[in-house]
């Protein structure tokens, strides 16, 4: 911009060392360290007007920050928290969140930009070297520390009085056990709780969505119905724990399509009931492919074939989904004929 003000020796041409025939200074070792290169002046170092411009830019950034903070306070007070605005290209977003975030972001960013610009253009950029010192102590210090330690150890007689040493080590080893013991009441022992669900002989299958007991005719071919045991209500204290094990999915197949003998035996008019909880790590399975009778767990993509005992046909699950044996009670509602015969959900050491 104002190159005519710059002293000759600072102009680019005068600084060029890299072009033309370079004379390598060190004739003996051309690879030797030539030392720190000479400092190159910035325009601000030699032109006071440029420095002034930088000063104004920094001050402007700090001023914008102040204005943004005022903007933040104004937005906080004036923008209603349920108002949404259209911001291209994001779409409709919360006006308050947008206003507060942008003003806060601007206020912070401008402080940072101002400080960095100040450092880069106006503070000295002369590179200097600091010496490093070895981290390891010199030999005399090392010897002194070792001697001090030996002296201290000797005075404590820990090496000589073995009885003290051994009992102390014993006490220190045992004392954390109290802490471990205290963790015992973090939870009950598993017992056989993972083997049982709320399902039992005579429990009706209740539609999860309508909360009505299911009749066979409610289950259409090709649909996937979710069910829970009769009597389990959402407001109950233990609802989450119970539904985590008892959740059921029901589909109707053509009895002729059921390949697995036991599956057919445990079904009712082609209606089969399987645990909804994936045997991999316990996600609820929810994607059903009508044509193939495959269900897919959306979490880790384990795929089970419901027409063949719900065996695993793809993905990381290790075993088939447990089936619930069902029938119809005297009033014509679907009912369980017992609990699951094996634990539902992910496998565990005691599962067997």
């Amino acid at each position: 911009m104002s190159s005519q003000d710059i002293p000759e020796e600072n102009l680019p041409a005068a600084q060029e060392h890299a072009h033309g025939a370079v004379s390598v200074a060190d004739e003996v070792n051309p690879f030797a360290d030539p030392g720190l290169p000479p400092h190159e002046h910035r325009i601000q170092d030699i032109d006071e007007r440029a420095a002034k411009r930088s000063e104004r830019a920094v001050a402007l950034l700090f001023t914008v920050s102040m204005l943004a903070t005022i903007g933040f306070i104004v937005s906080y007070v004036t923008v209603p928290h349920d108002k949404s605005i259209f911001v291209f290209p994001i779409g409709h977003i919360s006006a308050l969140n947008f206003a507060l975030g942008m003003t806060l972001g601007t206020a912070l960013f401008c402080i940072g930009a101002g400080a960095v610009h100040w450092a880069r253009t106006l503070m000295s950029d002369v590179e200097v070297a600091d010496e490093r010192h070895a981290i390891a102590a010199p030999e005399d210090v090392r010897a002194k520390v070792h001697a001090d330690f030996r002296q201290g150890a000797k005075e404590s007689a820990i090496g000589r009085r073995k009885l003290i040493r051994n009992t102390m080590l014993g006490a220190l080893t045992l004392v954390p056990l109290s802490g471990v013991m205290l963790l015992r009441d973090l939870g009950p022992l598993p017992g056989t709780s993972l083997r049982h669900t709320l399902w039992a002989k005579g429990k009706r299958l209740v539609n999860m969505n309508t909360n009505q007991p299911l009749r066979p005719e409610d289950v259409a071919v090709g649909s996937l119905t979710f069910a829970k045991p009769d009597g389990l209500e959402e407001a109950q204290e233990d609802f989450q724990n119970e539904i985590a094990k008892a959740a059921l999915m029901i589909v109707r197949l053509q009895p002729g399509n059921i390949k697995d003998k036991r599956e057919l035996d445990w079904s009712h008019e082609g209606i089969v009931a399987f645990s909804k909880i994936c045997t991999h790590v316990g996600c609820p399975i929810s994607l059903y492919e009508q044509q193939t009778h495959h269900v897919l767990c959306p979490c880790h993509q384990s795929t089970f074939d419901l027409s063949d005992g719900a065996r695993v046909i793809f993905g990381p699950a290790g075993h088939a989904l447990p089936q619930l044996r069902i029938g119809v009670d005297s009033e014509g509602y679907l009912q369980a004929l017992g609990d699951f015969e094996e634990p539902v959900g992910p496998a565990f050491w005691e599962r067997g």
Partner: protein, 552 residues
């Protein structure tokens, strides 16, 4: 001893001049020095020299996002209720009114919809967490590929590694707190993974959840882990990490005037005070702006957690994608014996998770064993000059990234119209083949770059100027490098492969060569053998070539 401060204040008073009394700032500093000894500390540190390189900023991103997380996290604790008591929602988010949900979920809705700026702070907190973890990952890669982990910085490497791992678990316990459908699914996955542990799995799960999953305790327990236990440890580690950075002084790349014995750069006061201090505001400002426009973790769209419900496309936060990928691609192996089940399909991924990360932690010790180098290293390696290390690092990153693809295999399938089975098989094969290919390719590239450096030193820079000689021949003009450039390109050290040494001692008695010794020699050859690095040019080679045709 007692006269020294008097001298100091006397001279300070002299300098202050007119008022005959030291300026207020100096008096405060003197007061503090008398009690804290701050002057000795400041003497070593106030004008401490920091070298300048863009990659040194990555660690700063981590530090600042960590501070931002703490600040916003404290604010969130003022409104969040870490309780799993079921309540009926009556807040201002209409679609969920009347729904049963835990207090944790309902108070998160309250923060998002009824506390002015609450959503912004939540989003800053979450975005900063993602950036913190990403920053640590990239920072760790910077340190790895430049060899900055070598003596004396191995312990600081471990501190950094621990920060990364603890950061992952702090993030996981954090995003699980709102008790929403997505995070609850992640917690269920964690429970399933814990159950897979042989012998102790079921017990650990029952102790962690206070009984069966999900129970009524995990939000409160995760809360104390998330806001107290892990961040407390991390804060301690981060302070230790920084103290060591100051104590060791910063590393630097080779260049004119730079050596193992010095550190070249600009002083902390004022340049780095302004640059680093300003950078905190830049990071905070950018994250605030991101939180203003980019929605993150909209728990109201997912709804409260129910163990029998799930949504498709369920993904953890990115840093848990590696664990997610391992669990997704691994085949469902289960072994049943004597009434027990060994859930290898879940347990092996759990172990692999630790092994793959742990390999990174141990690498500095492995490399120093192979080189046998006991010296301090403060000059950074250019990645090309350590081809085997660089190739190993890229192989590790490749494994990590392929597993990350596996963690989102459903999204890859739906977004690119691929078969989920094909994506999964790609990951299964890629997990093993990818790192091998990456290793070979990277090493070749490194060696190629070494050859180019050698070429440049010996024959100069290609100018692109074609000259026609009087007899018609065309030549390209090569421009010799300056001594600065020559030094920079030849400053690195090259190891010689370790040798087993004579197997027969001076008396002709055969000595036994230990297996570890043989292994070390073999690895050393793989690192520094003839085909595994390009010898850097020597002064003699340079002189011979330049004297031959030095008249370009």
């Amino acid at each position: 001893m007692s006269t020294a401060p008097n001298d100091k204040s006397a001279s300070a008073a002299g300098a202050a001049g007119r008022r005959g009394k030291a300026p207020a700032g100096e008096r405060v500093a003197d007061w503090a020095d008398g009690r804290l000894g701050i002057y000795s500390l400041a003497k070593a540190n106030m004008r401490k020299i920091f070298p300048d390189h863009w990659s040194f900023m990555l660690g700063e991103v981590c530090m600042y996002s960590f501070i931002i997380i703490i600040l916003t996290g404290v604010y969130l604790t003022l409104f969040f209720h870490p309780s799993m008591n079921e309540v009926e929602y009556h807040g201002s988010y209409v679609p969920l009114q009347g729904q049963l949900m835990s207090e944790a979920f309902s108070s998160t809705l309250h923060i998002s919809f009824d506390v002015r700026g609450g959503l912004l702070i939540r989003q800053i907190h979450h975005w900063a967490a993602l950036i913190f973890l990403a920053g640590m990952f990239v920072h760790m890669m910077r340190v790895f590929f430049t060899g900055a982990f070598r003596k004396p910085r191995e312990i600081n490497w471990l501190f950094g590694f621990l920060l990364f791992v603890l950061g992952m678990f702090t993030g996981f316990t954090g995003y699980s707190l709102p008790d929403d459908l997505l995070s609850g699914t992640g917690v269920r996955f964690t429970e399933g993974a814990i159950l897979s542990m042989p012998i102790v799995g079921t017990y650990i799960s029952f102790f962690l959840f206070g009984g069966e999953f999900p129970g009524h305790d995990f939000v409160a327990r995760f809360y104390s882990i998330h806001i107290l236990l892990l961040p407390g440890i991390m804060l301690g580690l981060m302070v230790a990490h920084l103290i060591l950075v100051f104590y060791h002084k910063h590393t630097q790349f080779a260049g004119p005037g730079k050596s193992e014995k010095n550190v070249v750069g600009m002083p902390l006061l004022p340049v780095y005070m302004a640059k680093a201090g300003g950078f905190f505001f830049l990071v905070f400002g950018v994250i605030a702006a991101i939180a203003a426009v980019a929605q993150i973790n909209p728990i109201w769209a997912m709804g409260p957690y129910r163990p029998d419900q799930v949504s498709t496309g369920a993904q953890p936060d990115w840093y848990m994608g590696f664990a997610e990928g391992l669990i997704r691609f691994f085949p469902g192996w289960e072994i049943n014996f004597w009434g027990h089940t060994l859930v290898l399909g879940v347990f092996i991924p759990l172990v692999l998770f630790g092994v793959v990360l742990g390999a990174m932690a141990l690498y500095p010790f492995i490399e120093s064993w192979i080189t046998g180098d006991k010296r301090e290293h403060h000059i950074l390696d250019r990645p090309r000059n350590a081809p085997t290390r660089t190739a190993l690092g890229v192989a590790w990153v490749t494994m990590y990234m392929i597993t990350l693809v596996g963690g989102g295999n459903d999204l890859w399938a739906t977004h690119f119209s691929l078969s989920i089975n094909a994506v999964t098989w790609f990951v299964r094969i890629g997990f093993f083949a990818g790192p091998v290919i990456a290793f070979i390719v990277t090493k070749r590239i490194c060696l190629g770059l070494q050859r180019r450096d050698r070429e440049k030193v010996l024959h100069g820079r290609e100018t692109g100027i074609i000259k026609r000689l009087p007899h018609g021949e065309f030549i390209e003009v090569h421009e010799p490098l300056s001594q600065e450039q020559l030094h920079t390109l030849t400053a690195h050290e090259q190891y010689k492969p370790a040798e087993i040494g004579p197997t027969v001692d001076e008396n002709g008695v055969e000595r036994k060569v230990k297996a570890t010794e043989k292994l070390r020699a073999k690895l050393s050859d793989a690192y520094y053998g003839e085909d595994n690095q390009i010898p850097k040019p020597t002064v003699e080679e340079y002189k011979e070539i330049t004297s031959g045709h030095g008249h370009h």
